[in-house]
Symmetry: C2
DNA sequence: GAGCTGACTTGCTCATGCTGAAGTCAGCGC
DNA sequence: GCGCTGACTTCAGCATGAGCAAGTCAGCTC
């Protein structure tokens, strides 16, 4: 199969999944909210405190994220309390875990302070640290540079 | 080992690798420049055309990325041409491949148009598609939710 | 030495994201 | 039925990012 990189100008990146993903989760606060949500945070004021963003910004971000179907706004009720709403991850949101993990791995390696990473994700079954790695469908792990770029069905060729 | 999520308020996210990574590669255009760089683009005007961002913004972004050590500005000379500069990925930049790949996978699943993805990364050796997956150091693949959060050496406990 | 081209820079304007302070609003506890 | 609390909203105001148009600058070609 041809490697598309050999003729990068023959195709456009109009239909680019990376760009589309960035349009949805491209802002710093959205990513940090996802980090918190993946760590289990659900309530408005916890998000505000833990992400370190102001209330107006948080309200706006959460509204966007519910509209984008990353979070779901669900009513709940603790005994003796009135009904409130919490923000739960949808499947679409939960599937950002590899993205956040890859970002955390990279930050641990290239942007951590001397003390090292503050948190480590570990495999529940064996306790070993978890990382985002590249793997092909045949099960081979990818080491630097073993990748070709092939055309997918949604490619838009330039005239 | 305790799961930190059980007491999320006992530690702060001051020293957060995700936030630090976002401070460096958090903007849409930076990510799209990384996409292009990982696809092999090196020259200023190619970046401008392929990323679809204006020249002033591109010049500013590239300068930032060189300062952040994601790219290196290297002089080169084609025969009959004068000396120019190209932008080559550093190791720090190349190691963002899992992040971009995870983002592309997610975009393919959740934000692609009906035609499907426009490009597919394949393993050079076997031709199978490549994905970013979570794996622990013992080699187990992580399926949804098998993750604990443990304290790392850089954790900052709240007083 | 005039023109061309690639790689920027400058200047201006618009849009977005965030901040801080203050206000609103809905119920449960009393 | 008054106050409290959690969850917001409203209102300036600032900083950043991006767009477009135009200008600059170096050095190779002719």
């Amino acid at each position: 199969m041809e490697d598309l990189r050999d003729d990068r100008d023959s195709w456009s990146s109009e239909n680019c999944s990376v760009a589309r993903a960035m349009d949805i989760v491209g802002s710093r606060s959205t990513v940090l909210i996802m980090r918190e949500a993946l760590l289990g945070t659900r309530r408005f004021d916890d998000f505000v405190r833990r992400v370190g963003v102001g209330e107006p910004a948080m309200a706006a971000r959460l509204k966007e994220m519910v509209a984008a179907d990353l979070l779901e706004r669900i009513p709940y009720r603790e005994p003796g309390q009135r009904t409130r709403h919490e923000y739960q991850l949808t499947r679409k949101g939960r599937e950002l875990l590899p993205v956040i993990t890859a970002l955390r791995n990279w930050g641990d390696t290239w942007a951590a302070d001397d003390a090292g990473p503050s948190i480590v994700a570990t495999h529940h079954d064996c306790g070993q640290p978890v990382r985002a790695v590249l793997r092909c469908a045949a099960g081979h792990e990818i080491t630097d540079g073993d990748i070709d770029i092939a055309a997918g069905p949604g490619i838009i060729r330039r005239s």
